[in-house]
Amino acid sequence: MSRTRTDAGRRTGRAAIGAALLAVILLQLLPFYVALTTALKSRTDLSSQWLLPIGDLFWGNFATAIRDGGILRAIGNSAVVTVAATAIVCVLGALAAYPLARRRTTLNKAVLLGIIGLIMIPPLSILVPLYSMLNRLGAINTYWGIILVMATTQLPLAIFLYSSFMRSLPIAVEEAAVMDGANLLQVLFLVIFPMLKPVTATVVILAGVAIWNDYALSVYVLTDPQVKTIAPAIGAFFSTQSSNLGAAAAASLMGFLPVLVAYLFLQRYFIRGIVAGSER
């Protein structure tokens, strides 16, 4: 009898969890649904944003996003910037984190604290000096300029994550490698780096998504449509005098597709990385 009651309790619990998960999924999908209904309607269709268009679907917003907004070019630009900046963040983050994790001197602790402190500086508070410096370097409206800016803004978090992860790795493995005759670089590249896959996945997700979606700095650094990334390109559908929500929604939907595809292919690594990140 009591077992039956326990089973019933379990079933109820599972059903509650299932219902809660379903609610969360619906909540997550809601913005995409509204974006879809907005993107598939013409400006003169004044029906509620919650309703799908009645009758024919309107594809004009997608055409506007591609033709006027240059969204396909922006997706390409975002891909270049995101891949390059994320690669730099991973490599430099891991290299910088290693001595900070292994040599726990007072100075290194202070350096690490200083780096963590950098995470808390709002990017816009350094906008004018940063822009002035980029201007003097000739980095405005260039890929390399925005790649460096994005890599710099994401590095503190990456160094923090890598150093936390490295501290949890057994030092005995490195000692064994040294005993076998490996030098410092060999230990780093052949022993340590292969063990960083889970945290690298976490860094790739956090940094990659932040760079892909960046608007705050990109909108100032990239004003030339030829090099604009996704977020400023979508922002160009809004000005102080007019806006085109339908085309912006269509552009947003196209802009998130590459991320969706990447996630579908790499979700195994992402989930592993997130779990590894949460354990640290």
Partner: protein, 420 residues
Amino acid sequence: MRSRSLFVVAGATALVLALVGCGSAPGSSETKSTLEFQTGQSVDSVFLKQLTTITKKFESANPGITVDLRPSTSSYESDIKVRLASGNVPDIWWTHGWSLLRYSKFLVPLQNEAWAKDFNPALAPAMKNSHGQFFAFPVDTDVAGIIYNKDVLAASGVSVASLTTWDAFGRAAEKIAATGIAPITVSGKANGPAGNLADWIASGAYSKSELAELSSGTFVDAPYTHVLDLIAAWKKESLFNPDYVSATSDDMSRALATGKAAFAFSQNTTAGDALQYNPKANLGYFPVPSLTGGKPYLIGGEMNAFGISKTSKHLKDAKAFIAYLAKPANATVLAKAAGSIPGLTNVTPDLGVLQASYDSIVKPGKFPLVPYFDRVYLPNGMWNTMVTTTDSVVTGGHANVAAGVSTMAKDFARLDAQTK
């Protein structure tokens, strides 16, 4: 092993693409001069399309000059501020109402250009300094009142001719509210429409001597209290749209277009946007009543105007381009796209649905045209304070009036001291 190879290939591809990107940076040509023109327009706007067409014709006629038209985002104002602060100034930029008061020290005076003889005198108070200099080519003249939906007023039995005082306006709004329509549409989400409420009313709340006090750096708080009290009274009577907090500027246009609102305190671009949602929307505008019992007035000044940077390396080419835009045929097309009264007197106005309001209110010259209150009488930087204090009254009512006035007074003193 395979995944490692993939990683290496992906990394190499990224670096190659990045290098290709570095190599393809714009502006490398030495023989042609390229003018960077920050248009301030959204990428698919009618105005930008017309500007692009005219620019292409200019480039064909002047093969040595390329004009790089840059669309903008809603952070245009900050973008220009950052560029001016860092010395990376575009050759030509949209001055969004500030060619004289904010940007004149960065711009070339244009009063001696050939087209300047046709400068619309109505713009002089807003765009010309005491030496008769002006610093931007005016595409149009901003003349704004209170936008209204004619059908909504007709259905409520309200005659627009009767709206000459704020009492009459309040009574009409209550009548409209009784039919289930939110009379006044305002966006609390956008950084502007709430401030417009106070900006529109304040111009008629101060006497001449009080305005002179403001100009000399003393904040006069009694008239501003009356302004916020009036807004608080509207809040008490539930005359604002119920979705005020979440409503965007776009929602204001939609509400006007669909007859879900009667009034909007906004520039006529809002009416233009409304017509994109409903080309049959029956809209007009009327003069703003005065809080001191004076004559109703229109608010106006500079709207779409383009200035040339003092530090431009292609000054001659930039002037040639602006002169091309100022040709009557081109200026007519641009003013029509902007939906406003032309900024040059030799250009024919084509205001579409707002033509009737123009013909009956503006053309006869019966109503005075006053400048935007914040631009002329408040120190630079007060706009945000104006928006947030009005917002607090629209949401909190009478309880927030005193605090709002006090904040205005403090920020006025602080910002005025900074500008001296």
